[in-house]
Symmetry: C2
Subunit: 194 residues, 2 copies
Amino acid sequence: MRKVPAQIASKLHLALPLIAEQGLEQTKIDEIADTAGIPKATLYYYFSGKEEILAFLFEDMLTAIADEASIAMGTEGTAVERLEAVVATQIRLLTQNRALGSALIGDLGRISRSPALVDSLQSAFYTPVENLLIEGAGDGSLRAIANPLLGSMTIFGSVIMSILVTVIAPADDLDVPNDLAGELLDVVMRGLLP
Amino acid sequence: MRKVPAQIASKLHLALPLIAEQGLEQTKIDEIADTAGIPKATLYYYFSGKEEILAFLFEDMLTAIADEASIAMGTEGTAVERLEAVVATQIRLLTQNRALGSALIGDLGRISRSPALVDSLQSAFYTPVENLLIEGAGDGSLRAIANPLLGSMTIFGSVIMSILVTVIAPADDLDVPNDLAGELLDVVMRGLLP
DNA sequence: CTAAGTCTGTACTCGCAGTACAAACATCGT
DNA sequence: ACGATGTTTGTACTGCGAGTACAGACTTAG
């Protein structure tokens, strides 16, 4: 895969609603080309096919999330505060690009089939959260759970589920992403028991 | 779609590892036919295409989960105890049929595109959990969270994520599904704060 | 001002999803 | 026994659309 110019990358996003709505399988490459305003021949100059186009866009978003999460992790504050910042960042970037976000969440299978994407997913979601959980257990701001990975999975799971739900059935009583991060963390932090 | 005989349905499961591994897109209908030992013409007699085959299998699993969850909900015990039973059931059925479970989780996008499957998903996962959360808030065994839906999403999210992770990177230190339900609920119930 | 790389239009191949259809086979009511 | 109705399957086919081939235009830099 050649280095993709920013111009092309940005145009590709125009085709995302299409892909998110009907799935990659049902989306013809000519549709993508037309919607994005990129000639088919040019697409094939940069990518080897549909799969790679979507993978590129996923990688793009995951890298952006990983970068911003890394910044959020480096700020001042307790582990809990930074955890909140990281999760808020993840939610913000996922919802900001709703079509890409929902395509990504709806296609976890595709991600799990590509080692490169699995890496990016981990850098964007698991690793930062898991590190903060461990750190928080160290400084006492979080309890030491038996399996920090399980904690990060719980957080990741609630993040993507809440977003998926807003895609399936746009909830009127939930202001995504402004309220979501806060409410969600409240549940995850304090638990469900009284 | 005609009524699918049990014989056919059960044979179809043979093709699932294939689909889970390489995705439906890359799986040829002849491969499915060969692997399952069902003539292609017969497949098209019952289903209108690949999509519908997978949708049928998803529906199958989701209905089974909804049924057993409903049974678990009806047993004796506090809301919390029954919640544990429901979640354990969900995890058990998802992991019991690992290929189908991971195909389902990896393809949430496909599910969200089909109203019928969305319904089944809700009956299998959201509704029972959400009801128990509300019930628990009523009898005092759970705290009254602002948004019960968020609680059920958190639980559903952690369930599917933990399973997805074991698919991506089979963890040696986690005995799925025996330990999973317990550990996971511990995290979700007590929260991450000390 | 040429060489190497980028971009795009046009025309093509071909694999595979889905169709058509007829013949074999089963089931059942009368 | 027998027609009627539905099931099952083999074989042969059609057509869409992914991906390829390639030539010519256009850009950039050495």
